[in-house]
């Protein structure tokens, strides 16, 4: 196995534990925005999609890359915008 795979595995495992520690502290009232926000983050595949779409490696790769960019951006923009929209609605009781 290559060193980059091992390095990646180390990062993956540590980040998984970090994620668990972070998410465990999110209150249940925010679980829906948490999911849509996490969704937006998983749109990070946009990085891979852009590299494929822009590489100019013949039409199959370009079509696949184009579609990948479209789906990843739906995930990114859809996720962040809808999360922002929901979070805007969460209000504390007004002190009268």
């Amino acid at each position: 196995m290559s060193e980059s795979l091992i390095g990646g595995l180390v990062i993956f495992v540590l980040a998984t534990f970090l994620g668990a520690a972070l998410i465990g502290r999110v209150p249940p009232t925010l679980h829906t925005p948490l999911m849509s926000g996490a969704n937006a983050i998983s749109g990070i595949t946009i990085v891979g999609s852009l590299l494929i779409a822009g590489a100019g490696l013949g039409w199959i790769s370009t079509v696949l890359g184009f579609l990948a960019v479209v789906f990843a951006m739906i995930n990114v923009i859809g996720g962040y915008v809808v999360t922002g929209r929901m979070l805007l609605m969460f209000k504390k009781e007004e002190k009268r």
């Binding site: 290559s2 990646g8 990062i11 993956f12 980040a15 998984t16 994620g19 972070l22 998410i23 999110v26 249940p28 925010l30 679980h31 829906t32 925005p33 948490l34 999911m35 849509s36 926000g37 996490a38 969704n39 937006a40 983050i41 998983s42 749109g43 595949t45 946009i46 990085v47 891979g48 852009l50 590299l51 494929i52 779409a53 822009g54 590489a55 100019g56 013949g58 199959i60 370009t62 890359g65 184009f66 990948a68 960019v69 951006m73 739906i74 995930n75 923009i77 859809g78 962040y80 915008v81 809808v82 922002g84 929901m86 979070l87 609605m89 969460f90 209000k91 504390k92 009781e93 007004e94």
Partner: protein, 463 residues
């Protein structure tokens, strides 16, 4: 930008994702966190465009425009009640993107006759499998939530065996693909097709009420698929971001399962609710329910000091959240207090009820978790159950023959009186009788929740 600078910029993006998630610990900081996370994404995208070997910028520009347009339109137009469907679609598009990137990476090497190193090969196969399962699984989850297809579990004899065999076929084909020296395309296509089929088979046997678990799990898969893509293209920001999302989904699934006192395996393979109405030990025969008019309910609520509202999926279906808030304000004006008791699996996704009530301008500090409110239920004058059923079924505490036995419930029956808003006496999702409805303290207000509440509102106003 050098390779080192590029890595550092991606690290900044990853840190922003982490801080963004951290800020979700409180509704007060969550918005800023979401924005920071978005900035991280922007940085990652810009860095990729600057550093990557971009030969066809028009393709990229077109893709960015189309994807952003669709995503923005979906996010602006979706109704809060349809949020589970929205999240299902977002999960699915994440899976699709990973599947496409994995596929393109594979084809790129195969078509130019380049030998794929074994570790990249393994991660490509994993990306294809997880990405495809996430894609079709999410589409089925969407269809069930949208009621395009039945929300009841779809089961056929030997289903688990078929799924297991298909999974083994994927593993076998992947190994064959990795071992063979020739550039073969058919095992690749076969892996994609079978994985897509697996996604369908894994979700069809799961019933509508178990959707919170499925959505969380698919959320996790979409993260893991992104992390696998990170291994394929050797990029750590994808691995970090993907792992964060992966563990978030797993944690949420665990919370949901715990709230139903069932194992993940039972949710995924148990086909809960498939058998139709199950004979509970306590039959409804000989018991009678007391039905009340909106006038009676209005009088009860108007003079109550301590009211607890227990919402369920029915409130979402009836779009009754705004009417609920109006009643809350009327009661408060008359000096009473109103709280909301939220069961972890109320609704079709984690936190579904909270978002609906937030939409209706209910302050989030009025929303209480199950464990928090249960000790106070004895002091509650009126518990108002709106479109919830199994989560208030006392049978879960006592009736060992009940399918939901052992599931933690909100103690609506401990309240001094109970008003249940329900369309009809039809059994709940799991087809279980609910003895709460036959409790002498319970009055049933039949009809559409929103219409009933609107009548109650005008009655309270006249008092």
């Amino acid at each position: 930008m050098s390779r080192a600078t590029e890595q550092l910029v991606y690290l900044v993006a990853a840190v922003l994702f982490i801080i963004g998630l951290q800020r979700l610990q409180s509704p007060a900081t969550a918005r800023g966190g979401n924005a920071l996370s978005g900035v991280g994404m922007l940085i990652a995208i810009v860095a990729t465009l600057l550093v990557g070997n971009i030969i066809s910028p028009t393709v990229i520009a077109a893709g960015l425009l189309v994807g952003s347009g669709i995503g923005y339109w979906m996010a602006r137009t979706v109704r809060m009640t349809s949020m589970p469907q929205m999240v299902a679609l977002l999960n699915g598009s994440g899976g699709a993107a990973s599947l496409l990137v994995g596929g393109a990476e594979f084809l790129k090497s195969e078509l130019v006759g380049e030998q794929i190193p074994i570790d990249t090969g393994i991660t490509i196969q994993l990306t294809l499998l997880i990405g495809a399962v996430t894609l079709t699984g999410s589409i089925i989850a969407w269809a069930k939530l949208q009621e395009v297809m039945t929300g009841k579990p779809i089961v056929f004899p030997g289903q688990k065996t078929v799924s297991a065999l298909l999974f083994l076929a994927v593993v076998g084909l992947s190994v064959y693909q990795l071992m063979t020296v020739d550039a073969l395309l058919w095992p690749f296509y076969a892996v994609c097709v079978i994985s897509l089929l697996l996604g369908v088979l894994l979700v069809i046997p799961i019933g509508g009420a178990d959707m919170p678990v499925v959505i969380s799990l698919l959320n996790s898969y979409s993260g893991i698929a992104a992390a696998m893509t990170g291994f394929v293209i050797d990029n750590s920001v994808l691995i970090i971001a993907g792992a964060l999302v992966g563990s978030s989904g797993i944690i949420l699934s665990k919370i949901m399962c715990k709230a139903m006192n069932r194992s993940l395996a039972n949710v995924l393979f148990g086909a809960f609710g498939a058998a139709g109405p199950k004979g509970s030990a306590k039959s409804a025969a000989g018991l009678s329910v007391r039905s009340v008019t909106p006038e009676d309910a209005a009088i009860q609520l108007a003079y109550a000091q301590n009211v607890v509202v227990i919402p369920g999926y029915g409130m979402a279906v009836a779009q009754a959240q705004h009417a609920v808030r109006e009643i809350q304000e009327l009661i408060e004006k008359r000096g009473g207090e109103v709280k909301y008791a939220i069961h972890p699996v109320a609704g079709r996704m984690p936190g579904h009820m909270n978002v609906l009530l937030a939409e209706a301008n209910v302050p989030y500090d009025k929303l209480r978790e199950m464990d928090d409110i249960n000790p106070e239920m004895d002091r509650c004058d009126v518990a108002v159950v709106i479109g919830a059923n199994d989560v208030v079924n006392p049978g879960a505490r006592t009736d060992t023959s009940s399918p939901i036995y052992g599931m933690p419930i909100i103690n609506a029956d401990h309240a001094k009186s109970i008003i249940v808003l329900k369309r009809s006496m039809a059994a709940g999702f799991a087809g279980i009788e609910n003895e709460l409805f036959y409790n002498p303290k319970t009055s049933m207000l039949f009809g559409d929740a929103k219409q009933s509440l609107t009548k109650v509102i005008s009655e309270i106003k006249q008092l």
